[in-house]
Amino acid sequence: MVVINKIMEFIIGLLDTLLPTLNLPDDFITALDSGITVIIGLLEGANYFLPLDVLVICFTVMLIADNFTLIMRIGQWVIELVRG
């Protein structure tokens, strides 16, 4: 659950920073809050039966293997950008 936890932490942290600046109604934010809480609970429940961390890592590896050329090109582009 560590990987999932970190990902959720990132997303929720981002929302937590951005949402108050948008002047949204409080009801909406409360609903979103409880909704996300439910989703976290569901993920926790699912994690009891399936190793979601391993699943996420495996999918990431597959994605990288599928798009290896693209990722390499992006990396080269970044390197050239940095090098000037």
Binding site: I12, T17, P20, I29, N47, Y48, L50, A65
Partner: protein
């Protein structure tokens, strides 16, 4: 771009349900079939919604047109901004003169100030209406502010037997970006400590970003700095993306504070109205409500200070604003208590503030709480060396015992004195007003402890046991289920169940099946994880070493 989006939409709309349906029929998996049904139902609902929108397209167009008209009216309202502000300022001066007439001030000042103010206003209204330069508008506005302070301090000098900030003579240097020039020695000293205002706000950051003023879109992103002398605080607000400062004053002297509160309210309301109107061109959807809210606050504040509402109506009758005013006047709100919320540490950087750990803060808050309730003595030591760098971490427990980070002996004293000493430490020996309100510090500290908008989600996330997941438990409320089934048919049927959650499935029972020290679920998870990893490896291997050559 548009073609590819269209293609994607067609693909999603047409091919994926076909594929799902095919999979469902061929493999006959109940879950996939369920997903297909839900998807098709969603498509149907979307089609119905689109049809409805098409049927009512005239109404929608009309509503859009109305919205646009409203927004453009508000936009045009910006043209009377200057007039509006000056009307309000004049109103404030009227209140000032009213107080003068009641004998709060020396009547000798009245005539002098009246002439000055009126000539100033008349000269500035002209310029304010002509110029589009926001900075210049704000400058004029602040000049008026300073005039008020001047009047107040002169009066205070006459009426108050205690030494006060006498003869503040300030002006805003137009080239030097609102640099204040002050004659009084003590004031000069405290300002010298702060340095040039430009420098203060740009480089040596002594500001804390906060959300103090509620319901205002602009002030959500301001920085503030803060200085004080023996008599009043002067607070500079820097609004993000705006080259100007907003000033506010809080007088420690109570005799003068009551009057200042009114001006503060007035100015805040006018300021925020002004800014809302300015920013309404960028954020139209926020504008109308905010303007009416601010006008309400302004009106409420002034009525509560004894100004007749008919007079207000006369003053505020400009263009479309009366209409906006009347529209929004139904729901008045309590003016946010902004007076006691602005505190920052002049000589502390933001990093220093952040380096205070939560333990420190909690200990400090507990100590202050106890002292406030029991009127007890607390020992608090925060040690800073001359370079304003925190020397050591300090924790204060519930009994007021200080732990760690002390090179100086603890200071014993009353609460205000203690807070005073802390401030002296922080301000490097700057003299602190003994009337300083400690609750302000407490509020500021507690603000650090508050979580953000998504409080529940963050707490839930923090409480997850990442080492080993907890077995999920599914609850049922039989009472609600029974009600849902019977209420439409016969609401009078007695409900045999209590209104509480009953455990429906507790997966914790799986933990009872153990083999070799591990539960059944653990074996299951390990197997699945191994399967995932094995599949991934096979997939990647198949990518690297394809078993057939693709011909072109």
């Amino acid at each position: 771009m548009r073609k590819s989006a269209l293609f994607l939409a067609i693909f999603i709309l047409v091919f994926s349900p076909i594929q799902i349906y095919h999979t469902a029929v061929v493999s006959a998996e109940p879950i996939t079939a369920g997903v297909t049904l839900v998807y098709l139902a969603g498509l149907g609902l979307g089609a119905i919604g689109g049809y409805e929108a098409y049927q009512h397209r005239d109404d929608i167009a009309k509503g859009t047109e109305e919205f646009r008209t409203n927004v453009s009216e508000l936009w045009e309202g910006q043209k009377v901004t200057g007039e509006f502000i000056w009307a309000n300022l004049e109103l404030g001066s009227q209140y000032f003169y009213k107080k003068l007439a009641e004998g709060v001030y020396d009547p000798a000042i009245e005539s002098q100030l009246t002439a000055e103010l009126i000539s100033e206003i008349q000269a500035n209204i002209q310029e304010l209406n002509e110029t589009q330069d926001l900075e210049r508008q704000n400058e004029i506005f602040m000049q008026y502010e300073l005039r008020k302070i001047q009047a107040l301090s002169i009066n205070n000098y006459i009426n108050n037997p205690y030494p006060v900030t006498s003869s503040i003579e300030g002006y805003y240097n137009l080239n030097d970006s609102y640099h204040l020039k002050i004659k009084d020695d003590s004031v000069t000293q405290s300002f010298a400590k702060l340095g040039n205002l430009n420098e203060l706000t740009n480089t040596s950051i002594k500001m804390v970003a906060t959300n103090e003023i509620e319901g205002d879109f602009v002030y959500k992103h301001y920085y503030q700095s803060f200085s004080f002398n023996s008599n009043y605080y002067k607070i500079y607000w820097k609004v993000k993306g705006y080259n100007g400062y907003f000033t506010d004053y809080k007088f420690e002297n109570e005799s003068i504070n009551g009057i200042n509160v009114t001006f503060y309210k007035l100015k805040s309301a006018v300021n925020s109205t002004y800014d809302t109107m300015h920013y309404s061109s960028y954020y139209p959807s926020h504008s109308s409500e905010k303007i009416t809210d601010n006008l309400n606050l302004l009106k409420d504040a002034l009525i509560s200070e004894g100004i007749s509402s008919s007079y207000l109506d006369g003053i505020l009758d400009f263009g479309g604003f009366q209409e906006v005013f009347n529209l929004g006047f139904t729901g008045s709100k309590v003016y946010p208590s902004i007076l006691n919320t602005t505190v920052a540490f002049p000589n502390l950087s933001l990093e220093d503030l952040q380096s205070i750990s939560n333990d420190d803060v909690q200990g400090f808050v507990v100590a202050i709480d106890d002292a406030l309730v029991n009127d007890e003595t607390v020992d608090v030591v925060i040690d800073y060396d001359g370079s304003n760098v925190k020397v050591g971490d300090v924790t204060v427990d519930e009994n007021g015992n200080v732990d760690g980070g002390t090179t100086n002996p603890p200071i014993n004293g009353e609460l205000t004195e203690t807070v005073n000493n802390i401030y002296n430490e922080i301000n490097n020996g700057n003299n602190m007003d003994p009337n300083f309100d400690p609750t302000m510090i407490k509020d500021k500290f507690e603000e650090k402890l508050n979580l953000g908008a998504l409080k529940n989600a963050l707490e839930r996330l923090n409480n997850i046991n990442t080492e080993k997941g907890a077995p999920p438990v599914i609850y049922l409320n039989l009472n609600k289920l029974f009600n849902a089934g019977t209420s439409e048919i016969n609401p009078n049927v007695q409900n045999p169940f209590a209104n509480e959650d009953t455990v429906f499935i507790d997966f914790g029972i799986l933990e009872t099946f153990t083999f070799g020290g591990y539960s059944l679920v653990d074996y299951f998870r390990t197997l699945i994880a191994a399967g995932f990893i094995w599949t991934t490896l096979l997939y990647v291997w198949g990518k690297i070493v394809p078993n057939k050559v693709v011909s072109r």
